[in-house]
């Protein structure tokens, strides 16, 4: 194994491989900066360029770009309040208020450091688990995925602790909206009202953009003020960014917990990587001393989603490489890219090409660190956007958001839904309904239904009695109840 590791390290020092990585990084960053376009777009766009490349060179090109996409997305989330891709929506919650308060540099520093280290964490885990992962991942069947998704749902209550009933309404509405369109097991189209578009239900990208981007754009359009007020504005200095970066080390518990959440969720095929940042955010909020201050610009609220978001990429590569089972849509596309490059991921892959597997982990690690550095250089430019008057910035962002949303599926109806969900987002924001709870419910609702139906069909009504399922239920309950143990014990004693 050590030989394979050293061989991978040696191959990465090849100038062609380094050149491919350096070419992929800026392309990934540009795609990440465009709202609505995600890692899947980056890979789809870049795959044709890899034809005829050596396997490691092609992998270096694709994985470096893929690692850079989420960095671009987190930057727009912090600076503009517009998530570059769906998982970045969790970063908006505290990152954008920090920018409005003139602490953009700190938020960017924390996001970049958390992303880089989170990505490294995921890659180290990937390299460590590759040789032994097969029995672990294969022991996770549909009941375990169902309970993992259900545990994610439980965090809706945590996300909305300041207005519990309104948060629960948002979460339940998200679940309800996710159940429109074809039912996952018997293919019956539900609530489609005779509209072809609705056969596939509501789409995630217009929902996320509408809920998060439109209220901010409307606020800019209404007030005409720039995002950061002049007196609060100071140029991003290295001191500010370093302060934000060091904050990651100040909250090691938040960082490691978020990385673990990201890696585990990323590793589970079918659970959906978009969940990880929200669950990590909710966990950070729940364990904080004053959870009510989350949402007003807490740095842990930036660290948690960013660390988990990048750690999940390493985790998602584990089943893709070790079993040939893609953990997400973008991993499915990456699997296709492996095949185009003449590689067949799966158990045999690890026997024949362990060096390439280690190489992939190292490329991802390099991509995370290098894209953080590039993003830092770019952030000095991007921060000037926050000084542009709202009346000028809002229409530009609006055009970018609508075209980005259209580009996700090439469907003009998506644009209409951006406006429709934008209206919903504005009302929710004004009346204090939790928008991340709705998004989390939407992401998990369909997964829960799918795995519940499969579990009941395959294992019967007692599917929850499987040992790993019971462990997941116990772990979720522990995570939810442990931070409130004093309150529960006090209540118990009072009774």
């Amino acid at each position: 194994m050590l030989d394979a590791f050293l061989s991978a390290a040696g191959q990465l020092l090849n100038p062609v491989v380094i050149g491919a990585m350096l070419l992929g990084l800026p392309l990934g960053l540009i795609i990440g900066l465009l709202p609505g376009l995600s890692g899947i777009t980056a890979i789809a766009f870049l795959i044709p360029f890899t034809f005829g490349m050596q396997p490691l060179v092609g992998l270096a090109f694709l994985l470096a770009a893929y690692a850079a996409v989420s960095q671009g997305g987190s930057m727009t989330a912090i600076i503009l309040g517009i998530p570059g891709e769906v998982p970045n929506a969790a970063t908006v919650i505290d990152g954008y208020p920090m920018t409005k308060a003139g602490r953009a540099g700190e938020a960017i520093g924390a996001a970049l450091m958390a992303s880089a280290l989170g990505g490294l964490f995921g890659c180290v885990l990937l390299a460590a688990l590759l040789p032994i992962i097969q029995p672990i991942v294969l022991s996770f069947a549909s009941p375990e995925n169902f309970f993992l998704a259900l545990a994610g749902i439980a965090f809706i209550a945590v996300l909305s602790s300041e207005a519990p009933n309104r948060g629960l309404i948002a979460g339940a509405l998200g679940i309800f909206l996710s159940l429109f369109g074809y039912s996952p097991t018997d293919g019956v189209p539900r609530f489609w009202m005779g509209i072809d578009y609705m056969l596939d239900g509501f789409r995630l990208v217009p929902l996320a953009m509408g809920l998060f981007a439109m209220p901010e754009i409307l606020a800019l359009m209404t007030t005409g003020r720039s995002i950061a007020q002049a007196q609060e504005m100071e140029p991003i200095s290295l001191r500010q960014v370093v302060k934000g970066g060091l904050a990651v080390f100040k909250y090691p518990g938040v960082f490691f917990r978020s990385c673990t959440i990201g890696s585990v969720i990323g590793m589970m095929p079918g659970v959906g990587g978009a969940t990880a940042p929200f669950v990590a955010y909710a966990a950070a909020k729940q364990t904080a001393g004053d959870p009510d201050s989350f949402g007003s610009g807490r740095i842990e609220g930036v660290i948690a989603p960013e660390a988990s978001s990048n750690a999940k990429e390493g985790g998602a590569l584990v089943p893709t490489l070790a079993l040939g089972i893609p953990g997400s849509a973008s991993m499915a596309l990456l699997l296709g890219a492996f095949i185009i490059l003449g590689l067949q991921p799966g158990p045999e892959f690890l026997v024949k090409h362990l060096d390439l597997a280690f190489g992939a982990a190292m490329i991802l690690a390099f991509g995370n660190v290098a894209s953080s550095f590039l993003m830092f250089l770019l952030s000095k430019l991007l921060i000037h956007i926050t000084r542009v008057p709202g009346h000028a910035l809002a229409p530009m962002l609006l055009v970018l958001v609508t075209i980005g949303c259209y580009s996700a599926e090439n469907n003009p109806i998506d644009v209409l839904f951006v406006f429709a969900f934008g209206g919903l987002g504005v009302v929710m924001e004004r009346f204090g309904y939790n928008r991340p709870a709705l998004l989390l419910g939407f992401v998990l609702g369909e997964i829960i239904e799918r795995y519940y139906q499969i579990s009941v069909s395959a294992y019967g009504a007692a599917f929850f009695m499987r040992p790993i399922s019971i462990t997941i239920i116990a772990a979720a309950l522990l995570c939810l109840l442990w931070p409130n143990r004093k309150r529960i014990l006090r209540y118990w004693g009072y009774r």
């Binding site: 339940a172 509405l173 039912s183 018997d186 609530f191 003009p412 924001e429 204090g432």
Partner: protein, 145 residues
């Protein structure tokens, strides 16, 4: 009590209840297809009913809402939705550029900035999205099919 606070949960209640009624009476879904939406929908309705009841009972106090909210202006909303009309009428490439030109001029920015932004938009939509990324943005107005 702020009456507007009850309107939103009431609307969600109405939307969900209508969808469930249509599913049950009109489409007559099987139990397998309808069970999950039914449970989720009933939970939404129940929570909305609780919210409406508690908000109605709460007199003189305002329910929690995000702070530092600027009041909504009709002009802001109109500018926002105008983009949809422009995209429909002139297509995604020219519609977006025209919208930026009109919107910036309408907000008293200089001709130079407005035209410059519109030209940059043309290059971005045509150059980056269509030529580089291969996105099939509609060039023709949408009403022309």
């Amino acid at each position: 009590m702020n009456r507007s606070q009850t309107v939103f949960p009431a609307l969600i209640f109405a939307f969900t209840a209508t969808a469930l009624a249509v599913g049950y009476f009109h489409y007559q879904y099987s139990w397998t297809a309808f069970a999950f939406p039914l449970v989720a929908g009933l939970v939404v309705c129940l929570l909305c009913a609780i919210e409406v009841a508690t908000t109605s009972r709460r007199r003189g106090t305002s329910a929690p809402r995000a702070a530092d909210q600027p009041p909504l202006s009709l002009a802001g909303v109109a500018w926002l939705f105008a983009l949809a009309a422009f995209l429909y009428a002139f297509g995604f490439v020219f519609g977006a550029a025209l919208y930026l030109l009109v919107c910036l001029r309408g907000n008293d920015f200089s001709w130079r900035l407005s035209v410059g932004t519109a030209v940059v938009s043309l290059f971005a939509t045509w150059g980056i999205f269509i030529r580089v990324l291969g996105v099939q943005l509609p060039l023709k107005p949408l009403w022309m099919g």
